[in-house]
Amino acid sequence: MTTVIATSGLVKRYGRVRAVDGIDLGVQQGDIYGFLGANGSGKTTTVRMLLGLVLPTSGEIELLGERMPRAGRRVLHRVGALIEGPAHYGHLSGRENLSLLDASGRGGSWRTRSRRVAAALEQVGLGGVGRRPVKAYSMGMRQRLGLAGALLRRPELLVLDEPTNGLDPQGISEVRELLLDLHRDGTTVFLSSHLLAEVEQLCTRVGVLDRGRLVLQDRLATLTAPTGSTVVHTSDPDRVRAALDGRVTSVEGERVIVRGDDPAEVNARLVAAGVPVHGLALERPSLEAVVLAAAGASPDRVDVRR
């Protein structure tokens, strides 16, 4: 497995503020990497450093095996990016915008340009958009056009910052399907987001940023692995306690946590004791719980210092 993004000791300082404070990212080929963090935790600065827009104060970045920002000209055309929302020339049509973007850099002949543009528009569901100027687009359409721009070069790596911003629920699920399709075809996806649910549904690996530090980086399956307890939903928690003496670790309303990683065994005992069981499941920590445990208070919260 090859490493697609690797940073070591990456630091960006703005004056006295360390926006990014020594992070070591590792994204492998074939990952869908969820880059999580509250607003202001340094996600966007990191993404911009990966793409050579912001120059690091210290530390190293390797993108597709080459040193950034020096190798930007060789590497970046293999990367598709959506950075902090889409941006286009409002007076031109979506097609013309993509065509200009395609013509701006190397790679791909002009003869096949209109075909590439049409394919990218088709992919994001804007195939029939016509000659309307972008300023007449809805926010969701602009987001789709931004995605089309990222997909234009058939990149090996997609770096997406909040790709579902401004999309309605149908749009979000369409984008999710699209990303899963691309991933199946071998595209590595680096997804920066603060929407935990989105990351939980999509990603294979997760990194959590808190105040410029990477406080957690692991496989999603490991982070949300069963805890070894079973969750029992019942209308009569007291009788559960009686039937499974000593194994009940906590009771919250009708939700009872029982030690033991075999729900079937727990169920058999409860049924034998005549306890009404409404639901039964292995206890897994939610991604939200994992993230909240790893990260502190929101960095855009500014409390009075005492």
Binding site: R48, L51, G52, L53, V54, L55, G72, R73, L76, H77, V79, A81, I83, E84, G85, P86, A87, H88, Y89, G90, H91, L92, E96, L100, L101, A103, S104, G105, G149
Partner: protein, 270 residues
């Protein structure tokens, strides 16, 4: 990349609106002159204007002289100030750089596009001036014209020198463009960049009229702008023209290096 920038520049409605507005002033002046027949006396008003009633072939020069002090620099400052800062404000700069377009390449392409705008604008002003001049005033294609020094010039001499004048005005505007482009790499606000360049020009024009500023007068960017009039002396008075070209060359060189140094090492956070 240069072609892309040219396409952007000339597909933009604003570019053509600017050129149209720029031409409206000389046309208005021509209409007023024809209606009233009141030309300024020689030596007063914009250069060449006193002569156009008798020779319309001089109107392109009068038109350039009319727009040169204010209209033309404003138009150039708007376009050049917008070049990088406008992309930054719209957010398209980050996508261009991530495409990737090398920063030096982008800056050069922007510069060429601005240069093309300057040339097209100056040529259009001169061309519209020619059409207006030859249709509304008496042209003297056979007799030639009169130089500023009072001797007569052949039509060939007039057209040749007019081309030189167009080139000289374009170089002067390049200095404006260099200021605006430099400021454009400093800020994410196109308005700020444009205003910065105009502030330099206003300050320069003001200092030029001030006796106390005479030690620095030869180095003011607007000092030799009107030297193109000297092309119509007989013989041509090259002194101010060469100085003007050299001065603009130094300004353009220094400012472009500064713009390049700043832009290639800058964090793009827009």
């Amino acid at each position: 990349m240069i072609l892309v920038e040219l396409r952007k520049m000339f597909r933009r409605p604003r570019t053509w609106a600017t050129i149209t507005v720029l031409n409206s002033l000389p046309v208005l002046v021509a209409v007023l002159l024809v209606l009233t027949d009141l030309a300024p006396r020689p030596g007063e008003g914009p250069p060449f204007l006193s002569a156009v009633l008798s020779n319309g072939a001089l109107y392109p020069l009068a038109a350039l002289a009319i727009v040169l002090p204010l209209f033309l620099p404003i138009a150039v400052a708007v376009v050049a100030g917008d070049s990088v800062a406008g992309e930054a404000q719209a957010g398209t700069l980050r996508y261009l750089l991530a495409r990737p377009v090398g920063r030096t390449r982008l800056l050069v392409a922007k510069l060429v596009a601005v240069l093309a705008f300057v040339l097209v604008t100056v040529v259009v002003v001169a061309a519209v001036g020619y059409v207006v001049g030859t249709t509304m005033f008496d042209a003297q294609p056979v007799a030639g014209g009169t130089s500023v020094s009072g001797t007569s010039l052949t039509p060939d001499e007039i057209s040749g020198r007019t081309l030189l004048a167009i080139g000289y005005v374009a170089v002067s505007m390049l200095g404006v463009a260099a200021f605006a482009l430099f400021f454009s790499t400093l800020t994410d606000s196109p308005l700020g960049a444009t205003m910065g360049a105009l502030a330099v020009l206003v300050a320069s024009s003001l200092l030029f009229t001030l006796d106390a500023a005479s030690p620095i007068a030869p180095y003011l960017p607007t000092r030799y702008w009107l030297a193109f009039v000297d092309l119509f002396r007989d013989p041509i008075l090259w002194r101010d023209i060469t100085r003007g070209l050299a001065l603009q060359g130094v300004y353009v060189g220094v400012l472009l290096v500064a713009a390049w140094a700043n832009f290639t090492t800058k964090d793009v956070t827009s």
